[in-house]
Each structure stands twice: as structure tokens, then as C-alpha cells.
Amino acid sequence: MKNLLLFFAAILMAYSTYAQNIEVCSTCAISTLKKAISVVKDFDTVLVKKGTYKEHNILIDKPLTIIGENYPVIDGELKGEIITIVSDNVTIDGLFIINVGTSYTEDYAAIRVRKSKNFVIQNLVLEKLFFGIYLEKSRDGKVFHNKIIGDAVEEYNSGNGIQLWYSKNIEIEHNFVQHVRDGIYLEFSDDCLIKNNVSAENLRYGLHFMFSNNDIYQDNLFEKNGAGVAVMFSKKIKMLNNTFKENWGTASYGMLLKEINDAEIRGNTFEENTIGINIEGSNRIVYKNNDFINNGWAIKVRGACYTNSFVENNFLYNSFDISYNSKINDNVFDKNYWTSYTGYDLNKDGIGDVPYRPVKLFSYIVNRTPETIILSRSLFIDIIDFSEKVSPVFTPDNLLDNNPLTKRITW
């Protein structure tokens, strides 16, 4: 296998030595991208000089590299899709693509990769777009260091920044996406790595998974989106060291989990979200070493969630730590640090001597009558919370952290 790879690499290198560079500029012999693509041979490089190129429906059907110098502008004049890649081994680098056409019947993209392998899309700037980068039934590609700035206002007539559909093994790194519908959207896409991206101020989700398995996303920042990240109907997703911030609003979450099984959520920071994590029908998920800071609800459990474990997380200054809408609990809370814990630690082992009950009666009342939120921190509410704590009637009585820590956990 390794020999085979070496062999291919050798052939590739040999090939590239024969590859030629072709320049495109407004005064050159070749003044359009389309023309350049039609004349180059496989594995050639097209150098696009600075300037504005009013082109759309550019079809790349052979393996080649397109490099923009000083960000030449490709202006689609709102007429439709701009670049479509249907060949393997294509690299696009350093273009400024604007004015993608909007349509209600077709998902026009700035760049679409269709049924191709080994592509690299990097250092692009996309503006005034419908869809940004659309990967369709493609695999083994890289989307690296692009800047996608949309101007989406309504969900129904806007597209996603980076969209994957039936794609596999894609790396999405160091991209910056804002003001689109979904920053990054994965549908039926497995084994992808999403790392170090910033997805902010998008209409719907910063990152959105549907029917996608075995993906990892880590070290991303999701800020001020309609909702941070939605993970739905997917399995074995790893969510590591991401930051979810200021996702504020009625249906706003740092993270929304729906029908998710066997995921790992570790090392993330959820800060100032209306709801840190909203969980529905999700099982066997491990939550470990996450920080929940200043959220309205750190975790809202909507039901049908079994054998999840919440271990060694920090719950700091949330209005509500955990909210349940039922009396049944099958999840484990252990060794977390809760700032609202008021117990004591007489033997000084760092573990509070009294168990902590993270679900307050008041959260149950607010679930029922949302306006009552205005009474939070009232002495009266403290009194009824206290009586519920002493003898639970409305909240699950086995929902306890038996080993609440007395100091914030560091890892």
C-alpha cells in the first residue's frame, strides 16, 4: 500500500515538471478564465492577475491549479453559479468571488465541487453570495482559510457558507464565515474534520449536522448565531474545545442536540447563551470538562435522554444549571463544580459533603409560565426552591450530584 502511494507520488511529481503556467489578465492573450481552462493541459497552473473578470458558469473539467495574484475579482453579475469543479485534483487559491445568482429552484454556489476527489479550496474571499462553497458527493478534499461574508436577511432566500452533501473525509480548517444562513452545513457527510473555524452572526446555525457520522469538530468559535451548533440525527460526533458564545434569542442555543447517540463533548466553553445545550432524544453522550458560564440555562433536557453522563464540568453563574421537563432521570451527574452550590466540605477533600440538586423548582415554573422569569432571584422564589430542595415534588428526586466539587476544575 505504502509503495503504491509512493509510486503515485512519483508519477505526480514527474507530471508536474512538465506542467506549464498560463497567465490570465485583461490585456493578455488569454483574458478570461474560461478561455484559459479550455486551453490548458491537465495539471497545468493558471495564474490570474489582478483585475475584474465578469464570468459565470466556469466549468473546471480537468485537474489543474488556479492561483489568483493579489485577489483578482471574479464577478458573477448575479447570473448564476460561478465555478463548478467536476474533475479530481483541482486547486483553487486566492480569488475574490462576488455576486452569485440567487434562485429559488437551484442552489447556485460561488464554488461547487461535484463528484470529485483531492481538491483544495483555499484563501478565497466570497461576498454577495447565495451558497458559498458547495461540496457534492466529493471526498478527500480540503477547504482551508477562506473568508465568506454573506448578507443574508431571511432564511428562505439565503444559502449556506460551506455546504457538504454526501461527501466524505473533508478537512475544513481556518475558515471565517458570517452572515449566511448556516455557516457550515453537513448533510450525509462522514469522517470530516472541522477545525479552527470562526462562524459568527449567521441567521440559523453556526454549524449544522444532519445524518452525518464520525465527524470531529474542534477549536472552533461560534458566536452570535441564531443558534450555535445544531447536531441532529447523527452518530459518534466528537465535539472538542469549541467556544459557543452569545447565542441569544428565543430559540437560541449554544448547541442543539437532537437524536444524537454516542457523542463526546469535551473541553468546550459555553458562555452567555440563552441555552447552553438543548438536548432532545440523545443517548450515551459523555460531557466532560466543559465550562458553562453565564448562560440562561446551562443545559436544558427536553426528554427521552438516557445514559448520558455529565462529569467534571464547571457550571459558573448560570441563571439555571439544569432544567428538566419530566420527573424521570436516567443520566449521571458527578464531580462537577457548581457556583450555586452552598454546601460545605468538613473533611477538606475538595468534595462537598452534601449532594447538590441542580434542578430548581423555579426552572420548572419558568418552563410552564415563561413570564415568571422576571421573578428570578426573588426571596420568595429562593424560599420555594429551598423547600423543593428539601423534599422534591416536581423535580426528579434522584437527580443529584453526589460529589459536587468545592473548587473550579482545571484541566
Binding site: 452567555e272 409560565t369 422569569i373
Partner: protein
Amino acid sequence: MLKILKYSFFDLMRSRWSYVYFAFYLLLGIVLLFLNNDLSKAVITLMNVIIVLVPLIGTIFGVMYYYNSKEFTELLLAQPLKRSSIFLGQYLGVAVSLSMSLILGLGIPFVVYGLFKSNAIWDFSLLLITGTFLTLIFTALAFNIALTNENKIKGFGYAILLWLFLAIIYDGLFLMSLILFEDYPLDKLSLIGTMLNPIDLSRTLILLKLDISALLGYTGAVFKKFFGTNFGLIVSFIMLTTWVVLPVLRIIFKSKKKDF
């Protein structure tokens, strides 16, 4: 009026109770800070304490001062002084000295701990402003109670009742009515309900700081406007000021009609 204020203030500053009050806050500040080792957490705990305690102390102290200084008041009444300036002076003397005890008692430990280098400074300032407002409001209410009740015991009783009502019972009734009418749009009602109780009003100010994430989860448009913009902050401060002005006006009105 300023002269009366000055004498009442210095009179109080020398009394044992001001020291007790000051020492209490000093101790509270120190204990919270050095046990928690966390400035933000200390501020949050303090907010919960202050909303309840400042009104209690303001009412009790106001009533107590009024009854205790009855002779002094009569001495002043025989002097060529306006009644309104006598009572306003005394009222402000009490309110200012209580506020000073609060601000210094809490301020000193927090400043020593390194408040100015912390980002909790705004929360802390809000806390002190709210505390001062509550002192002004509840001292004024206490003076109102004392002015209308010659009987000391009755006066104290009403003062405690007033506190109990505004601090606890009101919220209980409020909560019950919200749950009872949950099928109707309630956001206006709940905001109005909050405005009518100075303790709830101050709580809202603190909610705006601490629980904004949760508050924004609610759909009501009025709610959203109130909590999502500076509108809520401005309206709350206007209402707090109204809550100071109205009882003070009643002090002036009542004192003009009263026999000594």
C-alpha cells in the same frame, strides 16, 4: 435643610447603630471575598443579600430614628425653621448616613481586594447604586409610617409588615397571578407588576446584568424591548426615582398637617 441634614447626619454618625451597620457590611464584604476568593461570585451573593436587607434596615432604622429623635424634632419645630426642611433634613440625614455605611462598608473590602483591576466593577457600582436607591426609598417609606403613627409599637409593626409584604408576599401573589392567568399574554402585566414594587424593580436591574441570557429566551415583544435594549435600564431608573420622590412628597405634605 442642609443644616438639619448636617446635624442629623453627624448625630447618626456618632450613634452606635451606624457603626454596627457599617461593621456588618464590612464583615459581610470581607467574609464573602476571602472565603469565596472570587469577586464576581461575591458580587452576585451580595446582590441577593442587599435587595432584601437594605430595605429591612432602611425601614427599621428610619422608624427608629424618627421616634427616638422626637424631642429633637420638637426643639427644632420651635425654631424659625420650615417644617419641610426639618423633616427632609432628618430624612436625608438618615438616608445619607445609611448609604454611607453601605458604600463604605462594602466598598473598602472590595477596593482592598482589587476591585478596580476587575471587570466586576460595573456590577459592583450597579449594586451600590441600587442599594442607595433602596435606602432612599425605604427610609422615606419609614418616615411616612412614623409620621402617621404616633404609637411606636404600631409604627414598628407596620414597618416590618411593609418590608415583609414587599420583599416576600408581593412576589408570592405576583407569581400566583402569573400562573393563574398563564393563558393570556402576560409580558406587560409582569413588567407593570415589577414596577410597582421597588424591591422587584431593583431586582430587575440586577437581572439585566446577571440573567440577560435567560431573559432574552422569552418571546414577548415588550419583554424583548425592555430587556434587550437600554429601555429597561432607563425605565427602571425613572421608576426608582419616582419611588423616592412620591414618599418624600408625602413626607412634606404630612409634616405640614401634623400636630406635635
